[in-house]
């Protein structure tokens, strides 16, 4: 009986303790699943400038993060890799509707793009998107139905095809279907696709964010893989936003703002570039020019008319993605 009471007391203590854990000199940053190294470095630099401040990090797939925040995960700021997941928070009334105007560059302090990773020496001579539909090339990327990463791949390939075939929809569809036919395995997520390509040694080219290829080469050997940047790709924004409801409750709005502002400073930009993301700051971009080959970037707005339209036309059940994926 005594032990039971002790257990209940301990549990009650925990509930109370965790309810008082918040204050104005503390931030929780809910971020995407592979952003840890970046934010470890960012937080260290930020805390050095703001002594006494604590930044906690939560990392997971950003759709799961958005859902968790809607259910009460008390994140003061989000640093996502999918614009649509911030829009989900807008719909839930947690983030203001014009969040993209709160910070420069569409509230995306850095960016990346779908890019290629090939085996050392590039034995299949893969240079651009049109090489991916060749009969002798096997392509690896995850299932666009389940992976945000692969949706970018799908959209980038579609954007390329739209240009190449001058908007001939039938030919674009044929191109995408051919591309899908060259994928031997559709994994559910980016990490699993990497394993397929790197450890099971299936496929000739892995398509993923350029920021990811750096981590893969670092972990599995710089000499085993080469990065290939296509001639054209799609701008992948890394949106940041303040979660209004949470900062109002914590009284942490000022700190949240200066934290996200810090990402735009030369120091913050340098850290991002150092972690494989392309910087907005011209001086920093020039400094890391060698790591980031020139590429022409299209945006979802100009090619597809915005994310809402993409959602309806491409990703909804029975949409263009389903049609291409189903006709494999």
């Amino acid at each position: 009986m005594k032990r039971l009471l002790l257990g209940i007391a301990a549990f009650a203590g925990l509930v109370l303790a965790s309810s008082q854990a918040w204050s104005a000199d503390k931030l929780l940053n809910a971020s995407y699943d592979v952003g840890r190294e970046l934010f470890v470095a960012v937080n260290k630099a930020f805390v050095a400038k703001h002594p006494g401040v604590t930044i906690d990090q939560s990392h997971a797939g950003t759709s799961a993060q958005a859902r968790a925040i809607a259910e009460g995960l008390a994140a003061d700021v989000v640093t996502f890799n999918q614009v649509t997941d911030v829009d989900f928070l807008v719909k839930k009334g947690l983030v203001s509707a014009d969040w993209q105007k709160d910070f420069p560059d569409n509230a995306s302090p850095f960016y990346s793009l779908p890019s290629f990773l090939v085996r050392a020496g590039n034995p299949k001579h893969i240079k651009d998107w049109n090489d991916l539909v060749r009969d002798d090339v096997q392509v690896i990327f995850p299932n666009p139905k389940t992976s945000g990463n692969a949706r970018y791949t799908y959209l980038a390939a579609t954007a390329y095809a739209k240009e190449a075939f001058k908007g001939d929809d039938a030919k674009v569809k044929e191109f995408i279907t051919k591309l899908f036919n060259n994928v031997p395995i559709f994994d559910t997520g980016g990490r699993a696709a990497t394993t397929t390509f790197v450890q099971r040694e299936i496929g000739d080219v892995l398509i993923t964010f350029e920021s990811e290829t750096r981590g893969i080469r670092k972990e599995y050997g710089d000499d085993k893989f080469e990065q290939v940047t296509p001639s054209v790709s799609l701008l992948a924004e890394f949106p940041v936003a303040i979660v209004d409801k949470v900062v109002d409750q914590h009284g942490s709005r000022d700190l949240a703002k200066s934290y996200l502002d810090f990402l735009y400073t030369p120091e913050g930009q340098d850290i991002a570039a150092n972690n494989g993301l392309r910087a907005r700051d011209a001086a920093v971009a020039a400094k890391y020019k060698a790591d980031f080959p020139d590429v022409r970037l299209l945006t979802v707005e100009e090619v597809f008319g915005g994310w809402d339209k993409v959602q309806k036309e491409h990703f909804a059940a029975g949409g263009l993605l389903d049609q291409a994926y189903g006709s494999r």
């Binding site: 925990l14 854990a21 929780l28 592979v34 190294e37 906690d56 990392h59 009460g72 981590g215 599995y220």
Partner: protein, 294 residues
């Protein structure tokens, strides 16, 4: 000098082995199959965990275990087990006691209820807590008004773990206590013991091995639970990341050494559990056989 007794045993021995109908090749094949299965599905994965963990040397292994986030994940896992296991020990004991020793209405229903966590996918049990305690959930508004954070904090993780490990102790004890019946307790009571004494001096010694076994299993699951905890954790590094969740995150970040180093600790825990169980059985084998029903 030949002992006729022994010789006379020989044919009997032969006939006994002949009574096992399988021929020698079949027996060898079956044994080999079992061994191969064990090696492929149990031993090899275990070896790979340690191989990957030490892939970059002993230094890298201990460096990744010394990481602040990893240490906090270990601490949290130990804390959660330290709360969940005693709670389920008490609950399992009382439930088994009630079910095995007394007759009451709804007993069958209670037994089914105890089994529920076994039949529900852990992810679903996690989601149920989200629906219950989440900001948009049933109790969300009330909790928020009172400033209590359950979800995405330690209490939520403890709740999910308690739920998932609910049946282990009770399931182990119910058949055992049912088999033993009420005879010993009735004797104790008739000799003047009160209820508490009967439990402490008669029931508990009878079930201690089953209880210990249940607690070991419960503990292993409490530390290893992934699905339910993943849903309610919020994945905040240093605060709400348990060891299994930390393994996944490290792996996703291409930090194989870190991921497998933590995994090796979990595997080590499983091994310790196994060794403890084996040692207990070796030391108290006869007693365990007598007091463990199955």
């Amino acid at each position: 000098m030949a002992d006729p007794e022994i010789i006379s045993y020989e044919p009997q021995h032969e006939s006994r082995s002949a009574a096992v109908t399988e021929s020698r090749p079949v027996r060898i094949t079956l044994t080999l199959l079992t061994l191969a299965f064990l090696v492929i599905f149990l031993l090899l994965p275990l070896i790979i965990v340690f191989k990957e963990a030490f892939a970059k040397g002993v230094g890298a292994y201990f460096a990744s275990l010394g990481d602040a986030d990893t240490r906090s994940a270990i601490r949290l896992t130990l804390l959660v087990a330290a709360i969940a296991v005693p709670l389920n020990l008490i609950f399992g004991l009382s439930a088994a006691w009630a079910i095995a020793k007394f007759e009451f209405k709804g007993k069958a229903f209670l037994t089914t209820l105890i089994d529920l966590p076994f039949s529900v996918s852990p992810v679903i049990s996690g989601l149920v807590y989200v629906l219950l305690f989440g900001a948009q959930g049933l109790l969300g508004e009330w909790l928020k008004a009172h400033g209590i954070q359950i979800l995405f904090a330690v209490p939520g993780i403890v709740l999910a773990t308690v739920f998932v490990t609910f049946p282990f102790v009770a399931r182990e004890l119910i058949p055992l206590m049912q088999e033993q019946g009420n005879g010993d307790e009735e004797a104790a009571l008739s000799l003047g013991a009160n209820g508490w004494q009967a439990f402490w001096y008669v029931t508990l010694p009878n079930i201690k091995w089953g209880l210990l076994y249940g607690v070991l299993l419960c503990n292993a699951r409490a530390m290893g639970e992934f699905g339910a905890v993943s849903v309610v954790s919020g994945h905040i590094r240093g605060l709400t990341n348990t060891m299994p969740l930390h393994v996944e995150i490290l792996y996703n970040e291409y930090n194989a050494v870190g991921a497998f180093a933590v995994a090796s600790l979990l595997a080590g825990l499983a091994l310790v559990t196994l060794v403890l169980k084996t040692l207990l059985e070796m030391r108290y084998g006869a007693e365990i056989a007598a007091t463990r029903g199955h």
